[in-house]
């Protein structure tokens, strides 16, 4: 059976590449690593997502965007379900996503969350996305959105956002 099914699933994954994070539009839902599964049953698509932060207001929007882009591509009545476990981690962000973040002016997460020091906020060296210097300083653990902290570069003096390890 499964060649058609696989083809459909592959098509859906490709479509999902076009769903942006509403707050960091250079990243797709796939880059972020929040799409946990795509299931095809009874002729309908179910997309399983997991939130980045519990209170992230972008999640509702992403859900709406997934449904509407699937509809535009001929998939009627698709479903989006949310799972909490396993909890999302920045380790799931794609390498391509990290590159895109940096080009956008946001320093990508450094290190793996399996390193407890990282979770306790003792970040590894965070490089300035503008000039590449690692001579940077944390201004605040909390930034413009739940997923970012605020840094400044001590060389080029630019402030910048850092997508924190989570």
């Amino acid at each position: 059976m499964d060649t058609t099914k696989n083809k459909v699933l592959q098509e859906v994954w490709e479509i999902l590449e076009q769903v942006p994070d509403p707050e960091i539009p250079v990243l797709s839902a796939i880059d972020l690593g929040i799409i946990r599964d795509v299931i095809f049953h009874d002729g309908k698509i179910e997309v399983v997502i997991t939130p980045t932060y519990t209170g992230c207001p972008a999640m509702n929007m992403i859900e709406v965007n997934i449904k509407s882009i699937l509809q535009e591509n001929g998939f009627q009545n698709s479903m989006v379900t949310t799972v909490l476990s396993p909890a999302w981690t920045t380790d799931w962000m794609s390498e391509k996503g990290k590159e895109k973040l940096k080009a956008y002016g946001i320093a990508p997460p450094v290190g793996k969350t399996s390193d407890k020091h990282v979770l306790m906020g003792e970040e590894k060296l965070v490089c300035c996305p503008q000039c590449g210097s690692n001579h940077t300083e944390l201004i605040s653990q909390f930034g413009s959105t739940a997923c970012k902290s605020l840094y400044k570069c001590l060389d080029c003096k630019e402030p910048f956002d850092y997508f924190k390890c989570h």
Partner: protein, 252 residues
């Protein structure tokens, strides 16, 4: 009390704690001492509200009736709110807000660690997710305890004053009642008494470093978990519920 009834009350307590604390932190929006800390407090508020939403959604599943998360947040009166008294205490000044947050954060972190092993899969999943956020909260409030405690004479004095008042609200965090006992037996809930020692150890070591003193009294305020609140909760709910009660059913 059946296991089901106990579970509903348990989930509402957890929800109400973060919902009310989130509201309090949200009151700082636009009033923070500096922009970065204004943003920090509203970030933490957002985490709290997000966690509350997860619990309220779960509560409606447990009740199995057609109730939404908003019904729980906006259509219950103070006697039907089960949050700890500490989270409804007013912001007063920045020191007071920090001490309230620090006391609760350390408890919350230790609590969620245990809850993520709960036999109830949904509670475990919510806890596993929330603990990552609460790790950052602990770091933030802990840093400020150090900075203000071991800061200027004025900041030290304000912190010590806040500690002396808020201390009497910390005991309630570790009190077990029938709901807690039933769920502990089912391996769903957390042994609160068991958390106390560790909490005390973390807080007292941190206070020592911050040159702050732990009060000696063991007398404690209580009642929030059973629905008996300080007068502050009424004002919070009046503010929070005004719109949905005046315009029932209105949505964005």
């Amino acid at each position: 009390m059946t296991k089901q009834e106990a579970l509903l009350k348990y989930v509402l307590r957890l929800a109400d704690n973060v919902s009310i604390l989130g509201h309090r932190l949200g009151e700082w929006c636009g009033h923070g001492p500096v922009l970065e800390q204004d943003i920090a407090m509203t970030n933490i508020a957002l985490d709290c509200i997000g966690q509350a939403r997860n619990y309220y959604q779960y509560a409606s599943k447990i009740e199995g009736i057609d109730k939404t998360e908003d019904d729980y947040a906006y259509l219950r009166d103070p006697l039907d709110y089960y949050n700890l008294l500490i989270v409804e205490q007013p912001n007063k000044d920045f020191a007071y807000t920090i001490v309230r947050q620090y006391f609760f954060d350390v408890f919350h972190f230790l609590f969620l660690q245990k809850l993520s092993d709960s036999k109830d899969k949904q509670l475990a999943a919510i806890a596993e997710k929330a603990i990552k956020e609460v790790t950052y909260h602990c770091k933030w409030s802990g840093d400020w305890v150090l900075r203000l405690g071991d800061g200027t004479d004025t900041s030290h004095e304000k912190m010590q004053h806040a500690i002396d008042i808020l201390w009497t609200y910390t005991g309630e965090m570790f009190l077990m009642d029938e709901v807690d006992e039933i769920l502990l037996k089912e391996k769903i809930g957390v042994d609160l008494i068991g958390l106390r020692q560790e909490w005390l150890k973390i807080v007292s070591e941190h206070f020592k470093e911050a040159t702050l003193t732990l009060p000696e009294t063991t007398w404690s305020q209580k009642g929030g978990k059973q629905g008996y609140h300080s007068e502050h909760l009424g004002y919070i709910l009046a503010d929070m519920q005004y719109l949905p009660r005046t315009y029932p059913g209105s949505i964005w």
